[in-house]
Point group: none
Chain length 123, copies 2
């Protein structure tokens, strides 16, 4: 078998263009999941979700490892970095909202438990 081609920007951006696939990535952000569990919240067939996962895998955004009869899906954030870097070339994001973003992250990472509904409250 040939070694897999590195994911292209085409594949990464195409994968990200679908809201179902972005939702899947969000789910995998929290934890690794089996295909069936990924599919559960969606109003579409298991086969359809399986296809979406295949597209995400080809794009390098997730990896899939089969243990027993269960195929585990894992977020692979590295693939996003290439695309992110590409985008940075266009953004003069200097002052925009990265300051606010970093403050958000600081709070988020400091105390993920209290982010229920008042993300920006300081209380």
């Amino acid at each position: 078998m040939t070694s897999p081609a590195p994911p292209s920007l085409d594949q990464v951006f195409t994968a990200l263009a679908d809201p179902t696939r972005r939702a899947i990535l969000s789910m995998l952000l929290e934890d690794d999941m089996a295909v069936t569990d990924v599919a559960e919240p969606f109003a579409m067939s298991l086969a359809a979700v399986s296809k979406h996962l295949g597209i995400l895998a080809v794009a390098g955004l997730i990896s899939q490892e089969k243990r027993g009869r269960v195929k585990w899906c894992k977020l692979e954030p590295d693939a996003l970095r290439e695309a992110s870097v590409w985008m940075q070339a266009f953004g003069q994001y200097d002052g925009v909202n990265l300051d606010a973003f970093e403050r958000f992250l600081a709070q988020e990472l400091a105390d993920p438990a209290l982010d229920g509904s008042d993300v920006h409250s300081t209380s």
Copy 2:
């Protein structure tokens, strides 16, 4: 005429998924260009390039202004901000809570002035 809907992540990522459109963005990074000049290096019809530019415009990635018979195309890097920040959440911070992040993003995009940062500072 209705005010244009703000570009969605769908539209931005879909626009970025095509190599021709990414090449166009690269060209516009250097300078504003007329439609005919944008089309010149591509081995496709002017109409096809015109369509690509329309897709980029709907995604908010470029703006188009008609002066005389010439329509000038200008890069609008701000539209990349939302998508880029969305990606950063995956690329760098494993533990980030996406629900909170989405709320942050919604507020940020709705009213950047409210977040207390010096949004337009020239670093």
